[in-house]
Every structure is written in C-alpha cells, then in structure tokens.
Symmetry: C2
Subunit: 857 residues, 2 copies
C-alpha cells in the first residue's frame, strides 16, 4: 500500500510495488506498464491542463486482480480525499485493442445521494446515482440490461435499485470500497475472457497483452451553474482538414453529448442551433487554446473529453482522433508543415497499405448490405454497372456511355479490350494472380475473382447465386474489389483523393527511400498512371497485349500460320511499324525514363481463335479450309501451356519475332533521341533456364542493333537482361547473369514453378489451403520468403558474385507489397516493379523501411 | 638415331629420343606413347610367340613426321638386316579410333623382284611387287584406284608400274628408304587430316589423340612350300561361346583369306571343304596352343593374324575380337570362370548401357532400309505388327492373337490397356518422358515418340509420311525403339538373351555395388519383371493406373461426381476391396520386399471421359442429363493440369481418397502377414510443397492405421514418406523430412518445374534445342546435374541434417541412368528406382561405380 502524500524515491518504490500510482508530473508512467490512456493523462497533467486527480493501475496489478488479488482499496480511495466519486476507464497498450467500457460515479450510495440532493438538486443526484446503478448492474453484476433501461426519470432510480435487489437478493452495495473493488475485478476479468482476447488478437494484440486501469476523480457535469460534458476535436475525421468538431450538452456526463445528440449543442457558432462558443465564450477559448497546446505537445490531433462543473472546465481525457486513411495523410502532412513533427515522422505515420483506399473509389464503410456472392479481392476499388457477359458487350456498353461490369468464368487475353471498356470485372474462377486479377490491377479496375458460389451460364446469359436468385445481362450490380464482394444494385461511392497532401507525403517518402520503384505497364494508359505516380521508369512492359488489337491480331495470325520464312517475314514486316509506334509512344510518355521491354512471352496459340466463328473468320482471312485451320490450331495446343513453347523458347524456335521486336525498339529509340528525349531501352528475355538461351538471343539482338545503327547512321545504347522466372535460372544466375546488364526476378512464374502450382488453377483450392493453414498465406499474394525467397537470394548472390554491376530487381505481382520490398531491400536489389496503382504504396513502404532499418552501406 | 645393337640404359635413352624402338622383351612399350598395337606386339614377343622383328614409332615421332621431319630411315631399315621387306601398320591408343590401312612389302623394287623370281618363282615375286605398287600408288601417291585394279595376272604388275609412271611422270621409287619414308609420311599426314580427326572424335578420341606406327619384317605368305596367311579366333563373335573361327588361304598375305573367301580353307575339320587342321595338323596344334596362351596371358579373347612361310608359322598381330554385346557378356563371364580374370574385372568389362540390347528383341544390325519416319527413341527394342489407332482396336487385335503397333497422336491414361495389348507404340507427339514413353519403358514395350514428320488422321485412320505415302489401319510396320525409327513391313529380329552368363555377371555386380536398386512398377506384370531382374523392392508404385480398368473407372467416376460425402463414401467403399486386392497381389509377387506406394497423384479430371460417347455413357450411369455431366467436366478442366489440383492437394481437398488407399494398404499388409510374407509397406505422398501438407496427411494415415490395427487385432509397421518433386520441397527438405521415414526425389516433375518445362509439350522443340546446343542433353533423359542436381543435393543435405536416418532415393525416369546413379551415390542416396527393364543396367552401373570410385565410408 502507498501513502500518497509522502514524497521521494522511497515512496515511489512503494508506489510501484503496491500496483497503483497517482499520476503526477514526475515519476513517468510508461505505456508498456500502464497503458496508453494513463500515459496520455500524464502528458495532459504535465501540460498543466485541468485534469482531475487520477490514479493508474498497472497491467500487473490488473492481472493480479483478475487472479483474485486486490490492492488496498481504502488507501486508493483516500488519495481522492473524503467520500470521493470516481470513474474507472481502461488503459490498454494500444487503444485499438479495446477494453471494458468506462464506469462513472463510483462512490454513489444512498448517503451521497441524499447529500447531493441537497447540494446539487434531486435531478442531478438521481442522474448520478442511476447512471452508476445501471452500469454496475449491467457490467459488474451482469444482470439483464433490459431491466435497467431508463424508464420515466422520476421512477428510474428507485426502479433500478429495486430491480437490482430483486435479482441479486441483496442490497445495492453502499460501501464505496466494495463498489470500486467489484468494478476493478469485473473489468480485469472481462479483459482476460476468451472472447475479448480473441477480439484483440485479431487486431494484432499479443496473447499476453495487459490491461491498465485509470481511476479518476469525477467532474460531475450535472448540478448547479453551467454543468455538462462534451468532446472536441480540431479536424474533420473524414478529410483531415482543420475544423472544430464535437458536441456539448448541459447536465450530462461522459460522451452523452455525442451519443444522444438530441439536446446537444454545437461547439462553434452554427445557424442550426446554439453553440458552446456563444454560451461560454471564455470556456470555448480555453478549450481551443488547450487543444492547440495538446496538438503541439502531443504532436497529434486529439479528441478531448471535457466537463464543466458549475462553470469550471475539467479535461477528463484525450484520445487520438479516429480518422479515415485520407484524413490521416492530411493530418500527418499538416503537422509536418506546421513543424510539429518532422517530415520523416509524417511519412511513418501513414501505413502504406492505407494509401490503396485513396487511389480508387470506395464503398461507403457504413454500407452493410449482404453481398450476393463473395470471392477474392483481386483489385481494389468499387464500381457498379450493368452486367455484360462478353468483351463485345462491354465495348458496346462503353460505346453507349453506360457503365458495365464484365462477368466471366475467367478472362483470356482476348478479353482485354472488354476489360478496358468495363468499370469492373467479376469472375467465377481464378486466384489473386489469375489473368483477370493481374490485368485489372494494371488497369486500376476493381476486380473480384474466384466467386465460385455463383453459377455462370454464358449461353443463357445468367448468373445464378447460391440462394437461387438469377441475374441477367443488363441487371445492375456493384462489386467491391477491396473486400471481394458483389452486391445487387448501385451504391454510393467515395471518390479517390490524390490531393496536395498525398503528393507532399510521397515526395517526402521519395526523399528518404533507398530502393527504386518502377511500374509494370503494358499500355499507354498504364504508362500515364505510372508517370503520375512518379514511378522511376517501367520495370516490365509485356509486349503480347500489343498484338491483340484487331488489325494486328489478323497479321499476327498470318505470321503464325506462315507457310515459309518468306511469308513469315512479310507478316513481320507489317507488324514492325505497329510495334515501333507502340514503343515510340511509350518512350514519349516516359520522357527518357528507363523502359524495360519484355520480348514476346506467351505461346503462339494464345493468339489463335478458340470458337467456331473465330476459326471460320481466320480461315477466310488465310484462304484456307476450316478443317486445315482447325487442325493447325489443334496441333499447336499444349497440355501445360505455362510450361510449353513460350518465352525464350519461342525466341529461339522462331527467332524472326524477336528480331522484329528488337528492331522496333531500336528504331523507336532513335526517334526518341531525335525528338530530344533520349532513352536507353532495356530488353528483357523471358523464361530463361539455360545460359545458352541468353547467348543465342543476345547475338541476334546485337546484330539487329548493329544493323539499325548502320542503316540510320545513329548511335544508341541499350541494355539486355534476363527475366529470372524458372528455378533453374535462379540457381544458375551466376553464369546467366555474367554477360547481361540486369536480372529481373519474375516472382509470379517463379512462385508457380517453385510450388508446382498454376496460378490459374490454384483458385480452386487456395482458399481452403489458407483456411486450413496449409499455406500461411497465398504465395501469389504474399511472397513465400522461405522457398521462392531462397531462390531470389541465391539468384541475387550468384548474379552479383559473377557480375558485380548487374542490376537486380523483381517485377512480379509481389513487387508492390511492403513485405516483398523489405525482402528485396535486404537482399540488395536495386528496384522493385509493381502495378502502376501500387506505386504509391511501394514508395511509402520503401520509405518506411529506410527510416526503420537504415542500412550501413 | 639409334644404334640398335648396343645395350643398356644409355642406349635406351637414345632409342627414345630418336623416335623408334625395336620391340623386345625388355624396355616396356606404353600404349599411351606407342599405341595399342605396339603394346600388344610386345606382349606377344614376351610370350615367345614367333613374331617377326618389329620396330615401333611413337606418337611424337609420327607427329614430327607429319610436320615434315623424318627419323633416320637407313638406320631403321638396317635393324631388319640386309635388303628387308617390311610392313607398316597403325597403332593408335584405342583400336576403335581407326587409322590408315596397313601397307605390306615395302622394299620391293625391280632388283628384289628379280631375286625373288629366282628364289620364290615368278608368280610369288609378281604378287609381292604388285601388292606394294598398288598400295603405294593408291595410298601414298594418291592416284586413281581404278587404274590399279587387278587385271589379268600376267600383265598386272607391268600395267601397274606403267600406270604409275604415266601418272606421276616418274619412275616407281626403287630405294627402300625412299619407299618407307614416303609411306610413313603419308600415314602420318592422313591421321592429322580433318576428316580422320572428326571421325575419331565422334568415337570419343581427344582432339590431340596420337598415332603410333609399327614397322614389321614381312613373313611372305607366298612362295615355295606351304605358304599362306590367315586369321584365327577361339569364340563366336555373335554369341561369345567357344568356337574356333577364321580362315586360311595358301599363297596369300595379310587378311586376304577373310576378305576374298573364294579359295580360303576352314581352320577346323569341316564337311564343306578342306581345313588347316587336316592340311597342317602340327601348325594347327601350335596355333591352338598359342591362342590359349594369348587368352590366358593377355586376359582377353584375341583374333590372331598368322602367316606360314614355307611351312614356318609367324604370328604377325593379335587384336581384341570384335563382338556383340551378348558375346561380350559371355566372354567376360567365361574368362572369370576360367580364373583368367577376376569377377570384378568381368563386371567392369561390360558397359552397362550395352545390356539394354540383351533385354529386348533387336533389329538386325545389317538391316539398312530407310525408315518412313524418325522420332525419339523412347523405349528400347523392336517390334512389328498391324497399325491400330485406338486402345480398343489394340485389344481387339490382341484378342485375335495378332501383333499390333498402336499409333496415336499422344497417349493418355485411358490408352494403358491398349498399350498392354500392343507390341509397340508410335506417337506423333511427346518427348522422352511423355506418357507413352514412361508407360512403354515400364512395360518393356518398344516405343517411338515425337515422330512429328508423319501426319496422323484419326478420323480417316491414316498416317501420311513426309513423302506423301499413306499407311492405313491393318498395314504392317516395324518400329525400333532403340533408334527411334519406324519401317514399312515386318523384319527379322534377334531375340533377347537373358542366359546364365547374364545372370552370373549381374550376380557378381550385386556383390560389389553399394547403392540399392529398386524398380518402378505399377502392375503385377511389371512387378514380376522387377523380381526377375532382382530389383530390391518397388521404389514407386503409381496407384492411378489401377483405376482405369473398366469396372473401377465407373466407380471412380461416381466417386468424383458424388453429390455429398455419403455418396462419396459409398463409392469409395466399393473401390476399397479392389484396391486391397491390388496391393495383396503386389505384396505376394514381391515376397516381403519393400513396396513404396504413391497415393493418388493425377487430377481427378483425368478419370473423366473426353469424347461425346463417353460423356453420354457416364450420364446414363449417373442418371444425369448430358448437359450437367458436360458442365461438371468442363468445370473440372484445368489450364495447366501439371500444376493444378493433384497430388497431396487432392489428398487434402478430398481426404477420403487417401483414407481409402491407406486402409487398402494396411488391410493387404495384414493379409500378407497372415500368409507368412510380412511386409513393411511404404506410403508416399506426392507433390508436396509445404510441411503442413505432410502433417495433415500423416495424421489421417496414422488414424487409419490405428483403426485397421484395432479392427483386426493385428499389429503392423509402415513407413510414411514424401515424394520430393517440387523445387520448394527440395529447398524445404529439412522441415519436410523431419517426421517422415523417407524422401524420394521424383526427378521427372522436379525437372519440369526447375526448367518450367512440360515433358508433354517439350517434344515440339527439344530436338531443336539439343541440336543447337541450347541444352547439352534432353534434361528428361540425362539428369541436369547443374540445376535439378543442385536441388537434389540441397534436399538430400537438408533432409539428412534434420533427420539423419531418413532414407533418400530417386524414383524418376532418370533412376536407371549410370550418370544419375553416380550422382546419387556421390550424394549419399540409399537407392535409386527405375523402370523394371532398366534394373539390370542400373545394377551393373552401380557395380562399376563401386569398383571405380570406392567410397571411404
């Protein structure tokens, strides 16, 4: 036990051992031992704010209480003087971990009620007693809450006391020490209960997270003069912009002004009703000053709970303002601009993942309708529109200026134009890195995949849900790619917020980060997004999508069906100017920044038609019998196309294609140079598994470069590199990396091959696997550092050892994840490349890493 | 230069520096400096055989001659006495590397011709001179051979001399020293020519392989008394059995008796004509004695070249008998049984790959018809039969007792029964480890895959070759799976030779080898083969093939289409006794030897019908509409089945299947025990990529084992292990191997995933890739030690480190290759498992390794 009136070190020691501490300016309180609220209250006291006397109980003490112990309550109460009324509030290490609700007016009993009736009036005395009886009965004695609901004011107290007696067959406890110890025990036990523990563990709390409690002298808020309670904050929680927000209500306690609303007054002058500013201008001015003091000294936007007791202001508590992701960015930036915090601190205060919300339209968080199907959240953002079942219908809808959601079993490269036209994509199959998901993220298009509980009938053009409802083409649905849900009908959206605060924050992040961030971009639209998000170049430009546009697809198919090298050369000659135009435009958008172009990767059969009509059209275009065309298509089909004739294997088997692509790149490079935007293009060879593959392609690319240079009398540089996406390429990175400028690890395919797992087919069981804990995470979503990661490390080490200047990067879907960036940074990679819409997240995550784990080199 | 009559160390030194050495008993000649023939001749001299005086020229000397130098020819000739006649023969390090032909009778000129006419008669003198003039003109002066063909005997010499003078405008050289130096120069230069070098490098000679030459005093073979020449050997070159073979012809030189034949006599008594045994019984007896001496002292079966000069026997040369693989085995075994060589030497004398020929019928090596198509040699042996295009037709053909060759685009598991019925398989697609190839090797069935130059039309039932010929169903063709060729019509075959010599040799191999050899066997037939070839158990029993038999396939499909767990359980209950019977029979064949059973691996859709009829049948069986069945089948299809829902993923998603299989295994184990053949079954989990997968399956298998044990009141042991076939499983072998009994590396899938290369689709470009040197070898054929091998090493090291007792093995297609066995042995693996027909090769290869590279542990 502690004698609080004594001073000095010896006393403090006793304070510690007895488990409760009167919070003063001295004897620091630690968040780790007493919780955040206790710590914050000490800060307020140190700022000389009018905080009623407060005592803190440590985690240890509360834990002992839960186990049956109890500190000396008489002594504790005595620190508050004679016959005090007190409140108890939880003080956990992190506010978000929850805790039992506050209990006010402990110490109220019949005797105090009588006294207060005399001094404050019957109404106030009743209110104070009733509030305590209700709280105690419901939260401590665990009686049925319905029995203690407010009835008519006059009868309520008596009724509550009677209900308590009826239920417990005992009188309502009159001894304040008994009241307080019961409250403390109840709160301590509630914290240790299973449901509370699971709830806070879900929010990231450790299993042994402790609870502190603060016992505070009541400021009454009811009674004579201007008495009441309110909360005030100085910013808008949704936008983060400066704006005094909150409510005040006379003759109330706690947060009634916010909860009840009816009868509450505004804080600032407002035409809609009375305000504290008008009613108590001095108090309001003090509140504003104290709020400003809090902001500067606590270096945070706080919500302050205050009470007026007969005109005297008391500050009971202050908590960090709950806020939207968007508001959080502005608050951090404003604090830094006001020099309250450093720019680095501002950067660290924004969680990288939280930026995603700012980049796309979002469903209103309040919207709690039931989705008609759930799938995998494949590309963030929300969208609504009419259901369409084909790429053609999506384009038709876009042509009519109508929003549409493309619904497919799964998407193929042929659907890309439809995806460009659609507002969102919903697929029955596929996982987080299925075609639909990858493309949608690239386009910044909301996307839900693997919604396997719905049945798609493309012939009838219907979607049947698990409960048998049927959607038809043209029906309006909303999808939420951030949560993987789809809803019937349209919905209100919050628009993206790429404002000045956002730009400032990312600028500050760029100033500190030490790993490069590029974007994966195949199209001009994506390149524009990449530029807007300040990506440091394009880390992966897939060239295959360029061949799916109508006029090119026909030529591409002619090339594939060429009877002999002459025919093939003729088709490639027609593709060359188109491809050159692609790169010229791309270089123009990127204004001299590096652009890493991957040579053609997919198997050629992906460019061939799959349906009867397409085959007939092709037969007409080629002037061949349908049967011959069908046979050729069948001949080219593969059992496992992922592991077939594609990538560099294609480049070696039909080298003219890469020749054409290299020529297009070099000619575009010369044009860019003439235009005054000189660029050093990067050419990347996909799917390498042996050194010799690189040598063969390199010698042909070098030859094309020499030819283009001599034909044009122009000199240019370029870099040739390898996409490391087979386990063998990673293992052999030493010899493969020796004569190339860069090694870029394609973590999508590398993950597929390391696990022996197709991302297109994994959707069927991945949820089950993650649910059962077979895989801790979907390895296509979170980089598997144990397996795939080891190959990255081996590849990086061996590549660097053989060729110290080789540039290392990753360009798979994982590129934008903070976890992957941490991994790559630790492994000494030069940059990561990710979907353009992930670039802001990646820039911020990289800055966090640089600030949290500075590297010596 | 050397004075040969002097003796002692100083002289020998001079001998060495002057570049030629008279071969005597002392001063050893080395194969590495003077070649095999010189070395052998010294051995014959040491055996006191009547070898004419011989001088050896070293590799260095011959190299200097080619460069323009020349030893002192006068001195060399003087070692043979006055006016000698000599021959020159090549002496390379390995006889197989070739060399210029022998030249006889050097020293013949007009003067010697006159003398010999007097002493030996005109005919003999003419023959000796003419032979030399012809050889010199053709091989040294490089004149047109047609001009020096034998005309009428009387005119031939004069005509040849005149032709020589006309062509060279010079007289035929008369100085023996000039003759000899020209011969030596010509032979030396021929050896260094490009075509000779390429030829011998193709046979494995190093780029700087040297040529030695031997100069030997002529034994004339023509002239008075019994003069003539012949060759003798003491075994049959085709069978290896003891049998005196060879020919002798009077009044001839060199190997004329063998080449000309007409006029040659048999060696032993023969009813078909005269024999040396009858004509010169004493000489014949001496030859026999000397042959026996050679065999014992040279420890080899030699072919001896001999000459009779006026009744006196000379042994000119002896070379190792050229022989078939089969003969080589018998010769080695007989030599060991006669205690001429050790059993270990006998083992080392047989090249493991050469055994393959003995295991299957072979095409006659003399058959040089042109194949109608070439493909990949996928499973050795030859077969002929009628073309059939379907599994059903193959079975019908077998039912009629007719041989057939099954011709398919590629095979699927549904074709297995057809393959059992066929004599051979020919496919248009696929590589060395395609389905057809793997199954055929297991069945010991000749197979050619990837014959992409033929066009298969399954509808018309025709095969069209590159030159436009058409084969129809029923046409007879022959395929040679050892060379990858297919021929029109039937062909003579040599039957397999698994005789006592073969068995002895493999028994001796087993006595020395130090790594286990098991067989991959899925069927009883394969298990029988495995037993016959003395495999030490089954290393991989794939269970999927068991479900393709008609009665089971229906039940399997019902299981796959089960509406709920109850339906599924009912189907599995019907499969259980069938599966139990499979294992019971297998355990019976293997008589207590270990059997490693892989739980179901392929995706379930492999068991579903692909064609319209099959779907309709299934719809009938399931009493469902065809459209529903089609939809379900489409739903289950996968883009990359290799990387899809199969293996342990299936085991976790539908755990009842593995439960059933485990129960069948355990119940069969109990039956085996009751029968008196106790077995410890091994259960292998396929396609593992994470530790937790193993834990989940292990806990269920353990539970099934406990249940079966308690139901039967029986105790049994089993081992649970993991098939390591994903790169991740190899990398994580430490944690994966910790709680399992064994890790068996499936190198087929591991190669596919390490390269990102499907064996089914690789056929399309693998030939091109190997041809261009992109891959040194087809990695599905020869283990890629650099990439896949590193994963094997890492996996083995990590598995052993975490669990020192874990049993390590490989069970992929590579298991039987000597190279893979060497790799696994070096890495400390316990056994390799291979196709049953590869077991003998593997046993012998392992023995070679143990003898050549003994390990200290």
């Amino acid at each position: 036990m502690l004698r609080l009136r004594q001073k000095g070190a010896a006393v403090q020691k006793m304070v510690d051992t007895s488990g409760f501490t009167r919070i003063r300016r001295v004897a620091p309180i630690a968040t780790e031992t007493h919780g955040g609220r206790a710590k914050c209250l000490q800060r307020l006291i140190r700022l000389d704010l009018p905080v009623p006397q407060t005592v803190a109980l440590s985690f240890d003490t509360v834990h002992r209480i839960a186990a049956g112990g109890m500190p000396n309550i008489e002594a504790l109460l005595k620190t508050f003087g004679e016959r005090p009324l007190v409140s108890v509030r939880p003080s956990s290490e992190v506010a978000d971990w929850g805790g039992p609700g506050a209990i006010l007016n402990i110490g109220m009993n019949d005797a105090r009620h009588a006294d207060l009736t005399a001094s404050h009036g019957k109404k106030a005395a009743n209110a104070l007693y009733l509030r305590f009886v209700q709280s105690f009965a419901i939260n401590v004695a665990r009686l049925d809450p319905e029995m203690f609901e407010n009835g008519k004011k006059g009868d309520a107290l008596a009724a509550a006391l009677k209900a308590y007696e009826d239920e417990t067959e005992d009188r309502f406890p009159q001894d304040p020490a008994v009241q307080l110890s019961e409250v403390l025990r109840s709160m301590a036990r509630a914290w240790e209960g299973t449901s509370a523990r699971l709830l806070r563990q879900a929010k990231g709390a450790p299993a042994d997270a402790g609870l502190g409690l603060v016992v505070q002298q009541m400021a009454l808020g009811v009674g004579p003069g201007e008495s009441g309670a309110g909360v005030i904050q100085f910013i808008d929680a949704a936008t983060g912009r400066a704006q005094i927000t909150g409510r005040y209500m006379s003759q109330t306690q706690g947060r009634d002004a916010v909860k009840v609303k009816a009868g509450a007054m505004f804080l600032t002058r407002d035409e809609r009703g009375p305000s504290l500013e008008e009613k108590c201008p001095e108090v309001f001015q003090v509140l504003q000053d104290q709020g400003d003091l809090c902001r500067r000294k606590l270096r945070e936007e706080m919500q302050i709970e205050f009470t007026l007791e007969n005109g005297v202001l008391h500050i009971l508590d202050a908590v960090r303002v709950q806020r939207s992701s968007r508001a959080n960015v502005r608050i951090a930036v404003d604090l830094a601009n006001d020099e309250v915090i450093s720019r680095e601190d501002a950067v660290l205060r924004v969680e990288p993942h939280s930026l995603t919300e700012l980049l796309h339209p979002q469903l209103d968080a309040q919207d709690d309708r039931a989705p008609f199907v759930r799938g995998i959240a494949a590309s963030p953002g929300a969208a609504f529109g009419q259901i369409v079942f084909s790429s053609a219908a999506a384009q038709a809808s876009a042509a009519r200026g109508e929003h549409c959601i493309m619904v497919r079993r799964e998407t193929t490269p042929e659907d890309i134009r439809g995806m460009h036209a659609a507002s969102g994509v919903l697929t029955e199959r596929g996982g987080i890195t299925s075609h639909a998901a990858v493309i949608a993220r690239g386009l910044g298009l909301p996307c839900v995949v693997g919604a396997s509980d719905m049945q798609l009938n493309t012939k009838d053009k219907t979607v049947t849900t698990a409960d048998g409802s049927i959607f038809r083409e043209g029906d309006i649905i909303t999808i939420d790619g951030s949560t993987g849900r789809a809803f019937s009908g349209a919905t209100e959206m919050r628009e993206p917020a790429l404002d000045d605060a956002f730009q400032s924050l990312l600028g500050w992040a760029d100033a500190v980060r030490d790993i490069g961030i590029r974007a994966n971009a195949d199209t001009l639209a994506e390149a524009h997004v990449a530029r807007n998000f300040a990506a440091e170049g394009i880390g992966l430009c897939r060239t295959e999508h360029m061949f799916f546009e109508d006029d090119r697809l026909v030529v591409m198919r002619e090339m594939i069906f060429a009877k002999d090298p002459t025919d093939r050369a003729a088709a490639l000659d027609r593709l060359l100017p188109m491809q050159r135009a692609d790169f010229t435009a791309l270089f123009r958008v990127m204004e001299g920044q590096p652009v890493c172009i991957r040579l053609l990767d997919p198997p050629l059969h992906e460019f061939l038609p799959r349906d009867r009509d397409g085959v007939r059209e092709l037969a007409e275009a080629l002037n061949m019998p349908v049967s011959d065309v069908s046979r050729r298509i069948a001949d080219m089909s593969e059992i496992n196309p992922m592991l077939g004739l594609r990538g560099v294997r294609l480049g070696i088997t039909v080298p003219e294609i890469y020749d054409m692509q290299a020529r297009a790149i070099f000619e575009a490079t010369i044009e860019a140079s003439k235009r005054g935007d000189p660029v050093v293009p990067e050419i990347m060879i996909p799917l390498v598994s042996a050194k010799k593959e690189v040598e063969l392609v390199k010698s042909r690319v070098d030859a094309v470069a020499a030819a283009v240079a001599s034909e044009n009398g122009a000199d240019f540089d370029f870099r040739l590199g390898v996409m490391v996406e087979t386990p063998r390429a990673a293992l052999r990175a030493g010899e493969i990396g020796q004569n190339v400028a860069f090694l870029s690890f394609g973590t999508n395919d590398l993950t597929q091959m390391t696990y022996g797992l197709s991302r297109d087919d994994a959707g069927r069981f991945m949820n089950d696997y993650v649910h059962k804990g077979v895989f801790a995470e979907d390895p296509f979503h979170i980089l598997d550092t144990d397996g795939v990661g080891e190959l990255l490390m081996l590849g990086a080490e061996r590549g660097r050892a053989a060729h110290p200047d080789v540039v290392l990067s990753i360009c798979g879907e994982h590129g934008g994840n903070p976890e992957s960036i941490a991994f790559c940074r630790a492994a000494g990679f030069d940059y990561v490349s990710c979907s353009p819409y992930r670039v802001p997240v990646a820039r911020l995550a990289a800055a966090h890493l640089a600030l949290k784990q500075p590297v010596s080199s």
